[in-house]
């Protein structure tokens, strides 16, 4: 990479940007919360692969014909081509109701491929959401311990701040755009957590290596060292996120409707992960690690 500017010196801008996004996300959370899928709420979720553009009016007509009543906004289009429909029933559908629905589906949408029906009891949903929170918390804990052993605790904390930042950005995005949150979303957040750390560690590893060759005596020297490390690993950071993004975008565009929101979460998380490793984690570490070092300005005035 030839273009070089000091990333670490511009850290205030990056901190400000991420801070603003985080605060905005937090406000959205407080105002509206998540659009929880049936995995986390009791009721039935029916997904039909219609293989034709979803006409909400016709779906409503079908439901009325079967004597079903669903609240406003319970019918949504899914899939890249908008050819699948997701209907959310606040109550658990009985087997007879499911049969009626499938019969009507064939009648109203002859090209459909059949329905995917999910029913969850509130108790199961509660266990599931508790497990999701535990998984994120425990994964973070294990990662902190591992990095603290292999590197040092300041790296560990900076990496965790970056990964929480990524997880939070994805969650805010989903809250803001009212995208459905299901168990696969939890999987996506956990993957993002893994990738974010993976990405950060490659950079930290280079900083660690450069630190072995020279010991910075002033804050500015430390800044310069970290900047050099960032630019040395820049091609790798960009190329890697590009290849993983290729996979994620292809899955998003052509993969099945059931992993649609999953891959969307991944794409956002991957971009955020690449950004935070470079612009948040490393500058954060410099600020913390550099507190003990004298500033070059004072050192330069007293030669």
């Amino acid at each position: 990479m030839k273009v070089r500017f000091s990333i670490v010196q511009r850290r205030r801008w990056f901190f400000l940007l991420s801070g603003l996004i985080t605060v905005a996300g937090f406000i959205v959370f407080l105002l509206s919360g998540f659009n929880l899928g049936t995995d986390f709420r009791s009721g039935s979720r029916v997904q039909m692969q219609l293989n034709q553009p979803v006409d909400v009016g016709r779906v409503e007509q079908m439901l009325r014909a079967g004597g079903f009543s669903v609240p406003q906004g319970a019918i949504t289009a899914a899939g890249t081509r908008g050819d699948a429909v997701v209907i959310r029933f606040p109550t658990v559908l009985s087997q007879a109701q499911q049969d009626t629905l499938q019969r009507l589906e064939k009648q109203y949408f002859p090209r459909s491929q059949g329905a995917d029906v999910r029913t969850v009891d509130p108790i199961v949903a509660k266990i599931l959401s508790r497990k999701a929170v535990w998984a994120v918390a425990l994964a973070s804990l294990f990662i902190v311990v591992y990095i603290a052993i292999r590197f040092e605790y300041r790296f560990a904390v900076a990496a965790i701040v970056a990964l929480l930042h990524d997880a939070f950005i994805v969650m805010s995005f989903f809250a803001l755009f009212r995208l459905e949150v299901d168990t696969l979303f939890v999987t996506a957040v956990l993957t993002i957590v893994g990738y974010s750390v993976n990405d950060t560690i490659v950079i930290f590893d280079r900083i660690r290596e450069n630190l072995k060759a020279e010991k910075p005596k002033t804050f500015e020297e430390l800044e310069a060292l970290v900047d050099r490390s960032l630019w040395q690993t820049m091609s790798r950071s960009i190329n890697t996120v590009l290849t993983v993004l290729i996979a994620a975008v292809m899955l998003f565009l052509f993969g099945g409707a059931s992993i649609h929101t999953f891959t969307l979460a991944l794409i956002i998380g991957l971009v955020s992960g690449a950004y935070s490793s470079i612009f948040i984690a490393s500058p954060l570490w410099v600020v913390w690690r550099g507190r003990a070092l004298p500033r070059a300005a004072t050192a330069a005035k007293t030669p």
């Binding site: 009891d121 999987t187 993957t191 899955l251 099945g256 992993i259 999953f262």
Partner: protein, 422 residues
């Protein structure tokens, strides 16, 4: 140019491509697909303790066994029956079959009770006198079968009692009197005992047992034994078979498109070295298939997504190495020593970054369930296999290629055009 080394390099490349092209398809066919990919039925039952009958580990095991026997009666291929959270049973049935029937068979108990006395309620139904309970389904041998009454031709079920003596005593005591046979609390029949039965065998008929089909179902249910606890269906997922196939096809196409683009990208950026990374990627995909087939891991949609994303991580290991190699070249090292140095430096980075992701996956497997577990297993496998292919295999191939002397200009390995090196 050392032809021996170059030959070895070519041999590995040909072996990878040949092996994959030759055996990938049968291997793919032998992989067990999750029900989200081939259609099926996922049921989660809560084992409910009853009054005076709290959950015990042995009781839960018995419930699990009873469910297994019931599921086997449905006769679908390779069902998955697992105990979850200590008090839930998950049943996964893939393939095409009657879902209603399956649910009925798994969840319903065939509770047979024979009473000596019963009274008719006002609404016409019968109420057994609990004090006169003579026999239950537990007293039966598990060889109940459908038969017809030789005299009347009536359909029914022949049952055999474990203790013929006990049955003989009952028939002695009730000779000439009626006994009341209840199935699931409903009066099935109230035959009058006409003979003393000495062989411990009896014929049950009446109620709904009019067709051979109904008799066979009851016989099967009696043979499967009573569930030690009632089961409550708490969650069910029902995927139509054609929908599953559509998801599989869509995800496979997406994977293929991703592979092609990654191949092109790597070749464009790292040229011959990129080609080695692509070959390693083919080997990765092949080994993943082989591992899934051998370990009998069920491949689900999230699992497939994890594998395709794992590919990205496998490529990352190569990118880290190649970027390092380019740096070493820029610092003026020869081609060969650049490769050696890059491999040495990159290994620690790759190990550290993969370990952390592996840890996250392991935690997911440990804490999660269902979809989360399927994803975690696939991620862990893909990390381990990518370490083999992207580190060991591609490193060996790169070294062979460079040491053979076939490549002299760093440009061929993604390095700068003008740099001179030996």
């Amino acid at each position: 140019m050392r032809w021996g080394r170059f030959g070895a390099f070519l041999a590995i490349a040909v072996a990878i491509v040949g092996l994959t092209a030759g055996t990938a398809l049968p291997l793919w066919k032998s992989i067990r697909l999750g029900l989200d990919l081939q259609g099926g039925f996922d049921l989660l039952y809560q084992i409910e303790p009853t009054k005076g009958h709290p959950l015990t580990p042995s009781g839960i095991q018995a419930a699990l066994q009873a469910v297994e026997m019931r599921v086997n009666r449905i006769g679908t291929g390779s069902p998955v029956i697992e105990l979850e959270n200590g008090n839930q049973i998950r049943v996964e049935l893939a393939g095409v079959f009657n879902h209603d029937e399956a649910k009925k068979i798994i969840g319903e108990t065939a509770e047979l009770e024979i009473y000596g006395k019963a009274t008719q309620r006002k609404d016409g139904s019968w109420q057994p006198d609990p004090k006169t309970l003579l026999m239950t389904g537990d007293d039966l041998k598990s060889d109940a079968h459908w038969s017809t009454d030789p005299n009347t031709g009536e359909n029914g079920v022949t049952v055999n009692f474990k203790d013929p003596q006990k049955w003989e005593n009952i028939t002695k005591a009730y000779l000439g009197k009626p006994i009341y046979i209840f199935l699931n609390g409903q009066l099935l029949n109230d035959p009058v005992v006409r003979d003393i039965m000495v062989n411990g065998s009896s014929f049950i008929s009446g109620g709904d047992l009019t067709t051979p089909q109904a008799c066979i179902e009851l016989a099967d249910a009696l043979n499967a034994g009573a569930l030690p606890y009632p089961l409550r269906l708490v969650s069910q997922t029902d995927v139509g078979p054609s929908l599953g196939a559509a998801s599989l096809r869509a995800t496979m196409w997406a994977g293929l498109a991703a592979v092609c683009l990654i191949f092109l990208f790597m070749f464009a950026v790292y040229r011959l070295a990129g080609l080695i990374a692509d070959l390693a990627l083919v080997a990765y995909a092949y080994l993943v298939l082989a591992t899934f087939a051998a370990a009998q891991v069920v491949l689900t949609l999230p699992g497939l997504a994890a594998l395709i994303l794992g590919m990205g991580m496998a490529v990352d290991a190569n990118i880290i190495t190649y970027e390092r190699m380019k740096e070493e070249m820029r610092n003026g090292k020869s081609l060969q020593s650049s490769v050696v140095a890059a491999n040495r430096h990159a290994l620690r980075t790759i190990l550290d970054s993969n370990t952390t992701t592996f840890l996250a996956a392991a935690v997911m497997y440990w804490v999660g369930q269902g979809d989360i577990r399927g994803f975690a297993v696939a991620l862990m496998f893909s990390i381990l296999i990518s370490l083999l292919t992207a580190v060991l295999l591609s490193r060996a191939m790169l070294l062979l290629l460079v040491r053979s002397g076939a490549v002299r200009r760093p440009w061929w390995l993604g390095g700068p055009k003008g740099a001179v090196s030996r």
